[in-house]
């Protein structure tokens, strides 16, 4: 298990390097001079040249990238073009807000989506089922930022029970988390429903029913344990979408997080800030996916067995087939 975790963490390095290169290239190789964007359109050329030299913009692209990335590898994310302050210190303040919203959103969506999907599958073609399916359809179609504005209108402006903006108390995080959870809960409901339905049609469920096993026991012991795996996969896949969603949601609720700084930084092409925040997000997603895979191992003994026997030849081939099936 430990070896597996280490291996996965090492695999993350080339991906992060690739991401940083792609994003750095997109920002650097397109028209638009950060110095000009920061100082304004009609700045004295001498001042402009000095600013360019100060930011190191006169170096060729590859040199700039190598300078930046060699700093990142030793934990120095560079200085912001706009403020001149280290990027890391600014991002470290903002990262927790984003993580709270993203994890809160995932947690809430699982808490709503999985039970609803299960109920919908067990009581197929009943009122519960139609309700869950309609709700899921509507929630996937509602744009997150619009839902956020509607919740803002209702709870903040009309009922006045929640604060509108800022990140001072837990109350500030209620609406962003609900907003973010809505569409994810819909995905969760749909995945859970179809996955559980597939299990319910299996022969061993019919056998259990025929043996006279109580329905609640069948659901808990057979249906959920087998049907939960695709649901866990979807949760892992959704993390990236959730983090993308927080960008817009932070904007609505004026929460100082990664999203708001990203949107502000892209306007002036604050390259170290943009690339570093995307690296942090990518690392966070990578760690979440690793956690999902570990959870997988604990849910499914077959996968757990593979992790422990990675060294043996047989284990390796098994991992491969298991991987494609999962």
């Amino acid at each position: 298990m430990f070896r597996y975790i280490i291996k996965r963490l090492i695999y993350m390095i080339p991906v992060v390097l690739g991401i940083s290169f792609v994003v750095y290239a997109i920002i650097s190789l397109t028209p638009g001079d950060p110095a000009q964007l920061i100082l304004g359109a009609d700045t004295d050329p001498v001042v402009l040249a000095a600013k360019r030299a100060e930011l190191g913009l006169n170096d060729p692209f590859l040199i700039r990238y190598l300078k930046y990335i060699s700093g990142v590898l030793v934990g120095n994310l560079g200085n912001s073009y706009r403020t001149g302050l280290p990027v890391l210190s600014e991002l470290i303040i903002r990262l927790p807000n984003t993580i709270i919203i993203a994890l809160g959103g995932i947690g809430l969506s699982v808490a709503i989506g999985v039970p609803l999907g299960l109920a919908s599958a067990v009581k197929q073609y009943t009122f519960v089922d139609y309700f869950a399916r309609t709700l899921a359809l509507l929630l996937t179609a509602i744009p997150a930022f619009w839902l956020g504005l509607m919740l803002l209108l209702f709870f903040v402006l009309n009922l006045k029970i929640l604060p509108a903006t800022g990140a001072n108390s837990w109350k500030n995080f209620v609406l962003p988390i609900v907003t973010l959870a809505a569409s994810a809960a819909a995905t969760q409901t749909r995945t859970t429903r179809s996955s559980m339905l597939e299990v319910i049609r299996q022969d061993y469920i019919r056998t259990a029913l025929a043996k006279g096993v109580p329905e609640s026991r069948i659901i808990w012991k057979h249906v959920i344990r087998n049907g939960i795996l695709p649901v866990v996969t979807i949760i892992g896949m959704n993390i990236g979408v959730q983090l993308g969603g927080t960008v817009v949601i932070e904007n609505i609720f004026a929460i100082p997080g990664m999203g708001s700084i990203l949107v502000n930084s892209v306007r002036i092409k604050d390259t170290p800030m943009i690339v570093s925040s995307i690296i942090l997000v990518a690392v966070f997603i990578g760690i979440c996916n690793l956690l999902v895979d570990i959870v997988y191992a604990y849910i499914d003994p077959r996968i757990k067995a593979q992790y422990f026997s990675v060294t043996s030849k047989r284990g390796k081939t098994k991992t491969k087939t298991g991987g494609t099936v999962a």
């Binding site: 080339p14 991906v15 690739g18 991401i19 792609v22 994003v23 997109i26 920002i27 397109t30 638009g32 197929q124 359809l137 509507l138 996937t140 179609a141 509602i142 744009p143 997150a144 930022f145 619009w146 504005l149 509607m150 803002l152 209108l153 402006l157 429903r193 179809s194 339905l197 597939e198 990236g240 979408v241 983090l243 993308g244 969603g245 960008v247 817009v248 904007n251 609505i252 990203l262 949107v263 892209v266 306007r267 092409k269 943009i274 995307i278 997000v281 990518a282 997603i285 990578g286």
Partner: protein, 297 residues
């Protein structure tokens, strides 16, 4: 969708045509899917005929400060906004942008994704590894963040939005087509085609792509729904289509200052986005069930 029809019909065997017909029959039986199709056709109709019924410069852009913030009326079915412009007319013109972006994004993703995925899956080895690792990098960046970076780098505007959205969609298509190719690459009918002297291109286009068409079409409808949301989100944070061009997201963005007094400014564009996304999702679900009835729950 017309792409499938062409590919399948070009084989012009009776059996394949009847398969297409039976897919269409199953699709028509699905009431929700038909609702989605009707909404979609209505949106397309609106986008295509907007110029006949409305005057873009006068009604969608022209300001009329005497008629600000009007409520719902016969003359202005969705009311008017902060500059006295008719919200309904603006939504109708906004449908053009949303549909254009979503259709082109799906098209670009489909074409480039298929080419890359087919090359990777068919030739395997080093080509496969290089291409797919490259795709993995794009998949690892959340699509919204990647789109923000690209739009910021290139500037807003329709073409850049389409480009920004397609980049993150291409890897999804190439993965679908690659996995399909891997499963049928060694099947007997491909071997037979090879033995008959068919070239790589012909095998890929004639035998492999049509077999992967089902999941690709379903993915395309998903892409359309996603890109409508994505364009609206980008415009909402001020990185997409700039006002005063009528775009649903930027209408929401400029309307949100007046949310307290005049909520209809943001309710109506939001409902338009919702209908569009809903229609694509319904069509996608319907197509998935129609293409592969075994999956139907």
């Amino acid at each position: 969708m017309s792409g499938t029809a062409v590919i399948i019909n070009s084989d012009s065997s009776v059996k394949k045509r009847s398969q297409l017909a039976s897919i269409w029959r199953r699709f028509c039986k699905n009431r929700l899917a038909m609702v989605g199709l009707v909404i979609f056709i209505f949106l397309v109709f609106m986008a295509l005929t907007a110029d006949i019924f409305f005057d873009y410069d006068r009604q969608a852009l022209g300001q009329n400060m005497k008629e600000r913030f009007l409520g719902f009326s016969l003359e202005h079915p969705f009311g008017t906004d902060q500059y006295g412009r008719d919200i309904f007319v603006r939504i109708v013109f906004g449908a053009r942008i949303s549909l254009m972006v979503s259709l082109s994004t799906a098209g670009i993703g489909l074409v480039f994704g298929t080419v890359i995925g087919a090359a990777a899956g068919y030739y395997g080895g080093k080509i496969d590894n290089t291409l797919m690792r490259f795709m993995d990098v794009f998949l690892a960046i959340p699509s919204m963040l990647l789109a923000i970076c690209i739009v910021a780098a290139l500037g807003g505007g329709l073409l850049n939005l389409i480009f920004a959205n397609s980049i993150s969609q291409i890897p999804r298509y190439s993965r679908i087509i690659r996995s399909n190719i891997l499963t049928i690459k060694n099947s007997e009918f491909v071997e037979a085609a090879k033995a008959c002297g068919a070239g790589d291109m012909k095998i890929i286009l004639r035998h492999i792509v049509p077999n992967a068409m089902g999941p690709l079409i379903v993915q395309a409808t998903l892409t359309m729904a996603l890109s409508i949301l994505s364009v609206a989100s980008l415009s909402f944070v001020g990185l997409g289509i700039a006002p005063p061009t009528p775009e649903w997201g930027s209408m929401l963005s400029t309307g949100k200052e007046f949310i307290r007094q005049y909520p209809h400014l943001i309710v109506m564009p939001g409902l338009a986005i919702m209908c569009a996304v809903l229609s694509f999702n319904l069509i996608g679900d319907g197509l998935r069930d129609a293409l592969d009835p075994r999956l139907k729950n």
